[in-house]
């Protein structure tokens, strides 16, 4: 922890460990992989990828869209759509309270944000899921937002790009959540029939009903390095087969080797890669 001590003089005198910790964390973030300290500003410039070991930090939905669109310009879509509590679901805490708490802590209206703009000059409708909102889970609101995104692209002949980050379907909306998988897939069938592109980007983690629907339906599927991607979660599999899982199982590179994704792309090269893919799928040959 040498960096901590070295920077101590910069920190205002305080005996309160908590305050000091927060202030230090305000300037630095420790890489969970290599444990090197990273300046926040430096981390932002490297798209939240560790400059020492290439560890990809989890990224929020808004940041994803900011980084994707040309000049960071896009029109936000369907921000007003948010979760109700159709089942009146109560577990150890009422669902309605979980929704309110998630809105407060994440500053987001839902587990996905979406927008319309240009990517490499191509009309693009993009969505980005966010783990900080009830584990990025997909309920009716998420399903509706994604479906509308795809429908808009189909109507106006745009491309669809979705960044997935999700624990799967949202249990608190029961079978309504499950059916979002069918609803979105049906919208993708129409996009497909209209011969318009869908690029799916799998980020850490993408599991359950999200993987088993739109996330695996990309014309091209791109994964960020070392992301956990699967249908069943590792714990469920371990309980079923009663043995430890091999190292690297269900990581991006494992899926690449098994032919389940087209490529694993470093986030710092993501936008350029997407533009090249869209050029192939959207530009007419002379």
């Amino acid at each position: 922890m040498a960096w901590f001590r070295r920077n101590k003089p910069k920190i205002e005198e305080s005996n309160d460990d908590e305050v000091r910790k927060v202030r230090t964390e305000g300037i630095f973030i420790k890489c969970p992989e290599c444990e090197n300290p990273l300046y926040r500003r430096e981390l932002r410039e490297s798209h939240h990828v560790c400059t020492h070991c290439d560890y990809h930090f989890r990224l929020g939905g808004r940041e994803r869209l900011d980084e994707l669109f040309d000049d960071g310009n896009y029109e936000k879509l369907d921000e007003e759509i948010t979760s109700g509590d159709p089942l009146g679901f109560v577990d150890t805490k009422p669902y309605i309270e979980r929704i309110e708490a998630a809105k407060k802590s994440s500053g987001l209206p839902e587990a996905i944000v979406s927008g319309k703009g240009k990517v490499g000059g191509h009309l693009t409708y993009a969505g980005a899921m966010d783990m900080s909102f009830i584990g990025g889970s997909m309920g009716s609101a998420v399903g509706e937002k994604i479906t509308r995104l795809i429908e808009r692209a189909t109507e106006t002949r745009g491309a669809v790009i979705i960044f997935s980050a999700s624990g799967g379907a949202r249990m608190q909306e029961g079978t309504l959540s499950l059916m979002q998988m069918a609803k979105i897939s049906a919208a993708l069938a129409r996009l497909h029939d209209a011969r318009l592109p869908f690029i799916s980007i799998l980020t850490d983690p993408t599991t359950g009903g999200v993987t088993a629907s739109f996330a695996m339906l990309g014309d091209v599927i791109v994964a960020e390095p070392k992301a956990l991607i699967g249908f069943a979660g590792p714990r469920v599999i371990e309980q079923t087969i009663r043995q430890k899982l091999p190292k690297g199982f269900q990581r991006s590179e494992f899926l690449l080797g098994h032919g389940m994704v087209d490529m694993v792309v470093d986030r710092r090269e993501m936008r350029e890669t997407l533009i090249r893919l869209l050029d192939f799928m959207m530009n007419k040959n002379l």
């Binding site: 379907a169 309504l176 059916m179 069918a182 049906a186």
Partner: protein, 283 residues
């Protein structure tokens, strides 16, 4: 007190839906269809006994039938992997559906699975992709598709053969995003709370009909319900299934006839709209 009784009822439905005396796809193939020709394999990897599929006739109408098969005794269950398909099962199902489409035959599917198999080999061969691809392809399959939720509708593993024009559901069947045990383990951190989860998940036929997630309930006879005691009589259900099966057969047949009056385009639009409306949110 009333709350507790309701809880018990939801979980009782789950136990009924899983009961080995309920008819499985193979039983219905004998009871309500004729001349079943089973077709095997996905042409890519292997045959998956957790899904049976093939050609059959219902009232002299030629149809393709696809369904999960759990197996009754321990040998059968192991052979059928407890009705939990692997990717090759879903790919076989789609292959048969595409044959039905090619030869303009209606499709009838039967859902009865705890879920898609969660294992290393299934993940390696793309369990998620196999399910996802079926969802998309079934949404624009150019033939009539009737879905029957027969017993246990276990999440994505059920839905992967569950996108169709009409969704019928047996009165004592359940259809859920996750098993009550799985839900309880995650949300209550106690799988023993499965009865509470079962109630919260709203997984019964009546509840699903209220949310417009299914189209019709197939009523079951009174003694078609199993108190969880050791006094139930073996095979009571199969013997008593006659009347229910007759009604189910009639509803499948009549629904097919109705749908066959529509053009493909009308049918696909209606199918799309049905799923398009699913979900409840605030705006």
């Amino acid at each position: 007190m009333e709350n507790k009784e309701k809880t018990n009822e939801s979980f009782e439905r789950v136990q009924n839906a899983r009961h080995p005396d309920r008819p499985y796809t193979n039983d219905l193939l004998r009871i309500i269809f004729e001349g079943f020709i089973e077709l095997h394999g996905d042409r890519r990897f292997r045959d998956d006994p957790a899904i049976v599929s093939g050609f059959a006739e219902i009232n002299n109408l030629k149809v393709a039938v696809i369904g999960h098969q759990k197996g009754r005794d321990m040998n059968q269950r192991q052979h059928r992997n407890f009705g939990m398909p692997k990717p090759e099962g879903y790919r076989k199902a789609l292959r048969i559906m595409n044959l039905a489409e090619k030869f303009s035959r209606p499709i009838v599917t039967f859902i009865d699975t705890p879920g898609a198999y969660p294992g290393i080999d299934a993940e390696e061969r793309g369990q998620a992709e196999a399910i996802a691809f079926n969802l998309r392809e079934m949404a624009h399959l150019k033939t009539t598709v009737i879905v029957v939720v027969l017993g246990e509708g276990g999440s994505g593993g059920a839905l992967a053969i569950g996108v169709g024009d009409k969704i019928l559901m047996l009165e004592n069947a359940v259809y859920s995003v996750i098993t009550p045990e799985g839900c309880a383990a995650i949300l209550w951190k106690d799988s023993g709370k499965a009865n509470l989860a079962a109630e919260s998940l709203k997984l019964t036929a009546e509840e699903l009909l209220k949310f417009n997630l299914i189209d019709e309930i197939i009523p079951e006879q009174e003694n078609w319900s199993y108190p969880q005691t050791d006094t139930y009589e073996v095979n009571i259900s199969v013997d008593n299934f006659g009347k229910t099966a007759e009604f189910l057969k009639d509803r499948i047949f009549r629904n097919i006839l109705e749908l066959e009056k529509l053009t493909i385009e009308e049918k696909l639009n209606l199918r799309f709209e049905k799923f398009r409306k699913m979900g409840k949110w605030i705006s």
